[in-house]
Structures are given as C-alpha cells and as structure tokens.
Symmetry: C2
Subunit: 318 residues, 2 copies
Amino acid sequence: MEKPYVFGLDMGGTNSVLGIVDARGHVLARTSIRTQQYPKINDYIDALYAEAEKIAEPLGGFEMFRGFGAGVPNGNYYTGVIQGAMNLPWGPYVPFAELITKKFGLPCKITNDANAAAMGEMTYGAAKGMKDFIMITLGTGVGSGIVIDGKVVYGHDGFAGELGHTMVAYGDDARPCNCGKKGCLEAYCSATGVARTAKEIVTKSKKKTVLRNLDVDNITSKDVFDAAEAGDEVAKEIFDFTGTILGRKLSDFVEFSAPEAIILFGGLTKSGHWILDPVVKALNENVLPIWRDKVKVMFSDLKEADAAVLGGSALAWE
Amino acid sequence: MEKPYVFGLDMGGTNSVLGIVDARGHVLARTSIRTQQYPKINDYIDALYAEAEKIAEPLGGFEMFRGFGAGVPNGNYYTGVIQGAMNLPWGPYVPFAELITKKFGLPCKITNDANAAAMGEMTYGAAKGMKDFIMITLGTGVGSGIVIDGKVVYGHDGFAGELGHTMVAYGDDARPCNCGKKGCLEAYCSATGVARTAKEIVTKSKKKTVLRNLDVDNITSKDVFDAAEAGDEVAKEIFDFTGTILGRKLSDFVEFSAPEAIILFGGLTKSGHWILDPVVKALNENVLPIWRDKVKVMFSDLKEADAAVLGGSALAWE
C-alpha cells in the first residue's frame, strides 16, 4: 500500500505548526510548538517529535507516513540546511533535514516559505495542473516562488525567487527596504508598504480622507480596505498606486518566464478587487502584446490557516 | 559509431547561413543562401538541401549527421513552427522543423535567435558546464536566453525570455520601442539605444564632444566607443548611462533566477570595459547582499562569425 500521509511543517519565528496531510490536501490533524522556546535545535526536534507522535498515533503511527516537508525561513532546498536565519535561535547553520530524518526515520525536504507556498498551490490549490506559474506572497514582506516546467526555480545557489527585492525606484527618494536596499518592490507592495503609502499621503497631502482620523503610525492595509469599501477616494488612490507598481513589475516577470498564471497570496489579497484591478490593468498595459490579457492573475484558493502547512507538506510527496 | 556532425542553421531576414559543426564546436564547413529569394518555403528548403549536400559530401554525406538545429526568427521550440515572423516571406505559420525532417531525414529542433545563442554558449562557449545563466544579446535589439538547471526556459507558450522588453521607464517621456511599447530595456541598451542616447545628448545639451562633429542621425555605438577611447567625456557618460540602466535591470534578473553568470553578446560588447564597468557597478549596487560581487558578468567567447551557426547547431545534439 502507498503510505497515505505526510507531515507538513510551517516554521515561523514565533510558532511552528505541524500538520498531517493526505494526498488531496486535507489537513487531518495539527499541533504546534513555540519556536523560540528551544535554544538548542535538538530540543526543538525532540519536542516536535513528541507532538508528531501524539497526532500520528490515531492515524496508524509513523509507518503510515511517506515523508516530512517543511517551509522554514532561509531553508535551502538543495542542502536541507537553514542558513543565516536571523529570527531563529540556533545559529547560522542548522542541518535541519538531516536532523529530522535521523529522528523521524522519514525523508525530509525543506524550502523557504514562499517556495513552499508555490508547492502547496501546485499540489493542492489554484495552480493544480499548471507547470509554469509565479506565486507572489503579499504580507509583511513580498515573497515569491517561481515554478517553471513543473519545478520550483532554485537557481545556482538555491536562493532564486527574491522578486520582492526587484527594484521599482532608485536613488535617495526610493523607500528603504528591510533588506538594506532602497526601492525594492517589497517596500511598496507589501501590506506594510500599503500602510506606508497611506501614512505618506495623509501626512504630505491635504486630501480629505477618513484615514486622517486614525493614528497615522498605525494605519493598516485593512484600514485602507475598509475606507475604500466606504467610498474613500484616497484609499482607492492608495490601492491604485500600489497595484500599478505591482502590475508593472509583474509584466517584467511575465517577459522573463512566460507563466500561465500569477497567483497572489497573503494579507493584502483580502483587499480583493481594490488591489487586483489596478494590478491587472498595469500588467496588461506594460506587457508585450503576445501576452496581453492572456496571463491569469488570481488569488490563492487555499485556506489561509492551512496554506503554510500544506506548502511544507507538498514537498514531502516529491 | 556515434555520428560526429550536426547541421547548424542561422536564419536571418537576409541571409541563411548553414554550417557543419562537430561536438567540440568547430565549424567544419559553411554555406549560405539568400532567405528572401524563395517566396515559397518548399523552394527554400530545396535550395538549403542542395547546399547541404555539397558541403556534407566531402565529410561522408548525410549518414554522418546526428541532427539539424536552427536559430530562426520567432521559432517555437515546442512546436517547431515559425509563427508570425514579420521579416520572412512565408506567411504566418511555417512548420519548419517538420519540413526539414521530411527533406533531410534528420531530427530537427528550432528556437529563436537569442535562445540559440544561449544554447551555443552552454554547449561550446563561456557557459560550458554552467546550469544556470542568462544570455543577453546587445545588438540592434536586446534579446535574451535564460538557462535554468541546464535547460532553456520556454515558459507556458514557448516565448519566455523577452528581457529586452522588460521596463526601465514609464509614461510619455519613455522612449518608444520597436515592439509598440514605451520604456523597454531595448530602447536604451541596444546598440541602437546607445546611438539614440548619443543623439539626445548632442542635440539637447551644449556639452563639448567630438560626437558633435558627426551627422547626428548616423552616430553609431562604434562612434561612441571611438570617442570614449579618445578620452571624450560625453562618450563615457553615454556608456555610464547605458550601463547603469542595464546593470540595474540585471539585478532584477538575478533576483528572479539566481544565475551563476550573465553572458553578454553582440555588437555593443565591442565597447569592452566602457560598457562592462558601469553594468557591473549598477548590478552590484542594486542586487541583494547575498549576490553582491558573486554573479559573473562576462562577454561571450564564441567568435561572432560562428556564434549564430553554433547556436543553431547546439540544439541538434539534444
């Protein structure tokens, strides 16, 4: 009998969520541990193993499992190593896949969060059956996972797909990005970028907007969405500004790899058509005629609560 | 015995050059026909066949050949069809690979010129042994061939790798490109783009430059090179302007696919360090720290006269 289950791990800086997933993408059980609670990686692995046993037992135990897949910050797919992850407590070099395999007796694959999201989308979600697509995650940052010919692109060193750090502005006026550069896509088109745009417009213009009633340092993309829904023109302008920058950049990506679809995921997609419409418009205005109105731009259809675990788990079927 | 030779065809709008190539990338014989002389594709194929027989005969005839590869305008690798090529006389749909196979009795693969150049570079040239690199051709236009994990990227529809039409400027002030868009990389960083920049500076500024002595509508990138070599400051400024735009864009491409190297080819590379230095500088200023000073930027080492034939021929070894 084919073993019916895999483990999928979503390791975040705060929580690590472990799920049991079947081939159709159902999360049959889940558990979690606090990532930072274990200053030594071996203690983390032991704690994870103890949790895994608990949830696997009712389903027949570890012999029912085909493998273990994980989306982890700075996870290198080629080497299985977590390398230089600033938000994790275990130092610059953690041979994570090897440690999991030793403890669990299961093959283990890891990759970074955005690549895992792309794998999840291809295995269970909106990109099922697609061989060429680009996943863009629009959350605190902008991440990306690129799939070409059915495979995630890792590049020469395993770190390909940093589309959030492609450039949309240059020079002193460009916005600083968390990566140390100025002018990255992420600085404009993440949920955080939308909040920065809102703050800029509220403080630098005299335009009438309900956003002015909020604490300018704590405006969120959700606030901008609510304002747009209520008919606020400045809120719409913020989404147009953001979507135009993102759509222009997507046209570059289409000219690179000619994907069938671009799939958007993450907090900002909750803004729905407010963000999608200007993205699609700018993409089609800037892409070569052969791709105009041909590349699908769509939202992920994975449940947000499951998506990261599903992404990790998708690696385990390979 | 392994068959030792392949045919490589470089089909241009004017000439079609056919060469016989061995596995080490030596062009053992070559011939050519005028592309436009044959209003019917079958007459073109017959003429090519007659020429091929002549050069193949001294080498043992067609039984010594493993296959036929061709770089052709708008050649679709997946289908073997030349589709919508404006500069060829045979209409919108030419099943070229099929016709060659029927006539020559050899397997035939085609692709467009820039992808063929990338294949040539990987099979015989500067990218030998590399699995991840990007080829940029800087001639009348800007073309590109992207190799990921040892394979040329074709994308969902076969047309991936149009990096010459990624955007470097937006809006009314952006330069019109031949593709109908405004602001494409090609409009700035092709040999023609350099000439346009020269014309702009000469006509719009009062700066002292030897370029002012030339007919402003006929300044070439070679003229700008000669001026730079002679110490002309405006000529250097033109290369800095061009190289900065190109290098910035290369940083986006590195963040997409994390290549080991970027290989530059075509007329503009004759400008040597004048163009290379600002490209490398702008790339490293704009790329994420993990790739800073790590991605090789190099010129093709294939002889220009052979490169296109070698590129076509490389497909035939697959």
